[in-house]
């Protein structure tokens, strides 16, 4: 399995598409931070928050996450890398786990500019704001922008960033069964984007219904998992990490169950 992961990482390194996605998230992260800086100062109208959200990590990853899964998994069905792995004696479980792991790494890599930009922006000590549309890194930026940082806060911020990357990787792990079953990138991108919009609505539903809110918060899409700040306690961060890991295990298991006896062309 390590060989499979190593080979996938080599391919990722050589992939122009991943470099383009990385460039896109770098530009978007910068635009997001600049808009979040200018809005509270009144240099940009507050009504522009909708556009600002379009450049945010949550929105970008809703679109690009499916693309990454498409490149990594559907692409490998097209160029027969997965078929070759099976014909070379790799078990299907190893292939699924390897792909899920590399998808997590690729998502973290593509989101890295958001983590860096957020960290740098917080370090400036300026206030940032995007009204009430902020999630993920944008939420961390708007919640903590302008605060004075203690040494302990720096470490906590690092842990929050790592936990947020884990949440995103878990959210996108739903693309693993989609990609293994559908094998067409266009379907994976469309379904995941639709699913992420649905999740935003379900989050509101969760606010009004206690039992649904509890149920939904046991997935990385619900609860306060994408709303982390320095206020978030260590227990909540741990709970988020556990929920994310468990969700990734479930999606990987579902993928394996579906792919175990799948016929390949």
């Amino acid at each position: 399995m390590l060989n499979l992961i190593q080979a996938d990482l080599y391919k990722l390194r050589k992939s122009r598409a991943i470099k383009v996605l990385l460039a896109m998230t770098t530009v978007s992260a910068t635009v997001m931070a600049v808009m979040a800086y200018l809005i509270p100062q009144g240099q940009i109208d507050a009504s522009m928050t909708g556009i600002g959200f379009m450049f945010s990590d949550m929105n970008m990853i809703s679109i690009l996450g499916g693309v990454i899964a498409g490149i990594l998994i559907c692409g490998d069905f097209d160029n027969k890398t997965i078929q070759d792995a099976i014909a070379s004696g790799f078990g299907r479980a190893a292939i699924v786990i390897g792909k899920a792991a590399v998808l997590g790494v690729a998502v973290a890599l593509v989101l890295l500019p958001y983590a860096v930009v957020t960290a740098v922006a917080l370090g400036t000590g300026h206030p940032f704001g995007m009204e009430n549309v902020a999630l993920g890194f944008l939420h961390l930026l708007t919640a903590e922008g302008g605060s004075a940082f203690a040494a302990a806060d720096i470490w906590k911020t690092v842990f929050i960033i790592l936990t947020l990357l884990l949440v995103y990787a878990a959210q996108l792990s739903i693309c693993v069964p989609l990609a293994f079953l559908l094998r067409k990138p266009i379907f994976v991108v469309a379904i995941y984007y639709g699913f992420s919009i649905l999740c935003a609505q379900l989050m509101r539903l969760g606010d009004g219904s206690h039992w649904f809110g509890s149920l939904f918060s046991s997935t990385p899409y619900g609860g306060r998992h994408a709303f982390m700040s320095l206020e978030t306690g260590a227990g909540d961060m741990l709970a988020t990490a556990v929920v994310s890991f468990m969700f990734m295990i479930v999606t990987t298991a579902v993928t394996y169950a579906a792919f175990r006896r799948a016929e390949l062309k």
Partner: protein
């Protein structure tokens, strides 16, 4: 201790009622090149996919290097090299990068093998050219190079000479023969180019509508191809009827030029001549002739209906 690299027993594959393979039992030995011959849809690729683990048999079993069962087969597949249907490679990478990728995936530490294989298949000079810009023949060569990574003991190649120029065909033929002789590799190769296959294979497996019609060695094929009675007459339909009813044989083929190739009664020409005479058929030609693999294949799968 088994001498077979591959043995299948009653292998059957059904897709929603359609039988793609029926009761296929074959055995392959090391150091031989097996030509898998069949029409489109005969079940060649289905058989190869089952062997490679890309598909699962509905019934029957596969033994690779003497081992069966899911877990053991997976382990034994590490001794396999495959190129099934189209060559698999990453289009945005060069030939060398593709070999690095697949070498890493298979855990082969020897980096020099990349250059050796590129030399072997004639792609050493492709430099920074991406695989997506390769010609069909170059893609085939890259697919073969990938299949050869890790010195496989059983090589499965589906239409490997597809798209190759005449010189390329000769190169690949010589390469396969060399691998078979020097490394004692067993090779299963399918091709529609029967004259070419005739020059490459040492054994033949003829498959038709999912069933193995015949397995034979080169010697047996030569023997069968060399001999048939070529009968020329002005009433081929009547002759066909006489052969079926009077001589009780269906081993004949009515050719487009109205001659009939009779693969039976080779040692009893007199009986054939007498029967024709007794039934009022005037033979304008009556001689023992040779045959090609192509014609032999057609005769095995059912005569003129498939010609």
């Amino acid at each position: 201790m088994t001498s077979h690299v591959l043995k299948t027993n009653g292998l059957t594959k059904r897709y929603r009622g359609f039988v793609a393979l029926r009761d296929v039992s074959i055995a392959m030995e090391p150091g031989k090149i097996y030509g898998l011959i069949g029409q489109n849809g005969a079940g060649k690729t289905t058989l190869m996919r089952l062997l490679a683990g890309l598909s699962f048999p509905t019934e029957g079993s596969i033994l690779l290097f003497g081992h069966g069962g899911e877990r053991a087969l997976r382990e034994e597949r590490k001794r396999l090299g495959c190129m099934i249907e189209h060559p698999g490679f990453v289009p945005h990478m060069t030939a060398q990068e593709n070999l690095t990728l697949y070498r890493t995936m298979r855990g082969i530490p020897n980096k020099e093998i990349e250059h050796e294989l590129l030399e072997l298949v004639g792609l050493a000079g492709t430099g920074n050219k991406k695989a997506r810009n390769f010609s069909l023949g170059m893609k085939q060569r890259l697919g073969i190079a990938i299949a050869l990574l890790g010195n496989p003991e059983l090589l499965i190649l589906d239409e490997p000479i597809n798209g190759l120029d005449p010189l390329g065909v000769i190169e690949i033929r010589n390469l396969l023969k060399k691998l078979c002789e020097e490394r004692h590799m067993a090779i299963l190769i399918s091709s529609h180019n029967l004259p070419e296959l005739y020059q490459t294979a040492t054994d033949y497996i003829i498959i038709h509508q999912g069933e193995i019609k015949q397995t034979l060695t080169q010697e047996q094929l030569d023997e069968n191809c060399k001999h048939h009675i070529l009968i020329g007459c002005d009433q081929p339909e009547k002759l066909a009827g006489v052969l079926e009813t009077q001589l009780n044989t269906t081993k004949f083929q009515v050719m487009p030029d109205k001659t009939v190739k009779l693969y039976d009664y080779l040692n009893r020409k007199d009986a054939v001549a007498r029967t024709l005479f007794e039934n009022g058929i005037v033979a304008t030609k009556f001689s023992i002739e040779g045959d090609t693999l192509e014609n032999y294949f057609i005769s095995v799968i059912g005569g003129e209906r498939h010609a």
